[in-house]
Amino acid sequence: MRWLSNRVAFLGVLALVVATVMSLISPYFLSLNNLLGMTQFGAVIALVGMGQSLVILGGGGGFDLSIGSVLSMAAVTIGLLAKAGVNVWLAALLGVIAAGLMGAINGLLVTRIGIPPFIGTLGTMYTWAAIPLIITKGIPLSGFPEAFGFLGQGSILGIPAQVVLFTIPLFILLQYAMTRTVFGRSVYLVGVNSEAAQLAGINVKRVRLSLYIISGVLAGFGAVIMSSWLLSARPDVGNGYEFQALTVAVLGGFNIFGGEGTLPGVMMSALIVTMIASGLQLANVNTIWQLAALGFILLGAVIINQAISARNQKRFGIKV
């Protein structure tokens, strides 16, 4: 069991296993084209996965079910603004800000009013999912200028633009914030023991609130990428992302009770989830089975996490 504890190494091995299996199923899997195309899908999953992970990391049952709906809402915001004649880049920025505000609403519901996160974000999940459909009557908003498509369709040095421009910089930024700043360390402390954090002078509520805002903003970037990629704002574009985000976070080693997990783990697990989705697609397996596969991965990953904490508890006599 010990090797399971080094999460990133474990995920690396798992990624190799998945890659091997997938290349046996389909000879195209390991082609450069497929590998690069895959990262195109994985970019948004990694972003929302990081958002979900950070919210979970903050503890207190933190949890964001509304990520996918926020993504849809932000996409439709961008689409409406662009349609109203606002410069598309400005519209994209405003979409990200709107997503941040929606994250703030979640955060305020949880920290100020004291609603349990899963139920608060379940409510906002359905509210934000319905409003884009109401506004657009279910019809995608098109009419973005071609140049906007670069973010989601273009590539830089052969690597998809969304990976180079969004996923990797944001990952580096967040990883820096989590490991090298006071804020990052206080997030871990809040997640491990919120009372100790409070006594240490950390504003627990504000830390958690900012995590929800970060989650919203990341979903907003996801919306920019998706709108650019599809060159239209689909009102249901975010459907299912909350679940992928959760799976990625849990597989990445984030204990659902908070305080545990690292962002490199999230990137690795986003890679694994993307490989499985892409491999199944190449093998002509119906996309719906990806949903089932995610379900099994999620349950398996949580069971592994629980086994690790149980082992640590026994070994070190600490409750993790």
Binding site: G59, G60, G61, F63, L109, I113, G114, I115, P116, F118, I119, G120, L122, G123, T124, M125, Y126, T127, W128, A129, A130, I131, L133, I134, N193, S194, E195, F243, L246, V250, I256, F257, G258, N286, I288, W289, L291, A292, L294, G295, F296, L298, L299, V302, I303, Q306, A310
Partner: protein, 339 residues
């Protein structure tokens, strides 16, 4: 142990007042709302939600949450629908529905208790798996034109009163009895209130929790039969919204989302509130997609209201304690951090 009988309290009364206000509102706003026919219509459409919400109430009181209820209903309805097509005898179909429902619920309970996984995560996982199974078994084709074997559950009348009324009343009566007077029902409250204390009091935590999910599953099976009787077809979207709606019904009815407190009386009021709203909005000509947004909003509002009352009560209690100059060693914290 049997002394902890949940009496309909302030919170249920509030829900009831809201329901009455809602009914008066729609009666004034539309012409066809306040008719006996429409009332029966609302009840007919509410039957599956009412039944599944009993299970949801038990699960939530036990400190849990079942996201997969809608998908489970869908899968059971699908399998029974296939059985109907194959011409299986009715008793066999009923057994399949109940057995399969209970099995799916028990699996959830087992994963949660033995896998030590948070309820919402476990049921999110099984929800996806069940949805995939529905999709795979339907294969993009709807099941339509089913024989009306179960139509009687919804469309039938006894003494001029629709069968759903009896069905709902009987189900609520049975489970109100169980939650109030039976050991199992009381254990559910105890486990949801404080699982550690419940364990120390000799209550089998795992068994109680699994039991709550098994009952949830069983009732999902019943609701699936009602669904078939009501719709006569199974589509890919089967049961997509009923899970959320039942969560909404439960919290509108005043059951604490954190477990340990709540009642079926409140849930029934919540169910009626939601289905009256759906019906009334259709009569007002509001697009049905609004219904979803409002249900989401209602969940947030109800839980917010609950928190408000909780804090108020706790404050009043603290004040009373200070006034009577009783200095206990520690005052209970108003908002215990969930961890």
């Amino acid at each position: 142990m049997l002394r902890n009988i949940p009496r309909p309290g302030r919170r249920e009364l509030l829900a009831f007042v809201l329901l009455v206000v809602e009914i008066i509102f729609f009666s004034f706003m539309t012409d066809n709302f306040a008719t006996l026919n429409n009332a029966w219509n609302i009840l007919r459409n509410a039957t599956d939600l009412a039944i599944i919400s009993i299970g949801m109430t038990l699960v939530i009181i036990s400190g849990g949450m079942d996201i997969s209820a809608g998908a489970a209903l869908g899968l059971v309805a699908l399998v029974v629908g296939r059985g109907l097509e194959a011409g299986l005898p009715t008793p066999v179909l009923v057994l399949i529905a109940l057995g399969m429902g209970a099995l799916l619920g028990t699996i959830n309970g087992l994963i949660i208790t033995y896998g030590r996984i948070a309820d919402i995560i476990a049921t999110l996982g099984t929800n996806n798996i069940l949805r995939a199974a529905i999709f795979a078994l339907l294969g993009g084709r709807w099941i339509t034109g089913l024989p009306g074997t179960f139509n009687g559950l919804v469309l039938g009348k006894i003494w001029g009163i629709p069968v759903p009324v009896f069905l709902i009343l009987a189900a609520y009566a049975i489970f109100l009895y169980i939650t109030t007077f039976r050991r199992f029902g009381q254990s559910i409250y105890a486990v949801g209130n404080n699982s550690e204390a419940a364990k120390l009091a000799g209550i089998n935590f795992r068994l109680t929790k699994i039991g709550a999910y098994a009952v949830m599953g069983l009732l999902t099976g019943v609701a699936a039969l009602v669904y078939l009787g009501r719709m006569g077809s199974v589509e890919i979207t089967v049961g997509l919204d009923i899970g959320l709606r039942s969560v909404a019904a439960v919290v509108i009815g005043g059951t604490a989302i954190t477990g340990g407190r709540g009642s079926l009386v409140g849930t029934l009021i919540g169910v009626l509130f939601i289905d009256v709203m759906k019906n009334g909005l259709v009569m007002l000509g509001v697009p049905s997609i609004w219904d979803r947004a409002l249900v989401g909003l209602l969940i947030v509002l109800s839980v917010t209201a609950d928190r408000y009352f909780e804090v108020q009560t706790a404050r009043a209690r603290l004040k009373g304690r200070a006034a009577s100059r009783h200095h206990g060693p520690q005052t209970p914290s108003v908002a215990a951090e969930g961890r």
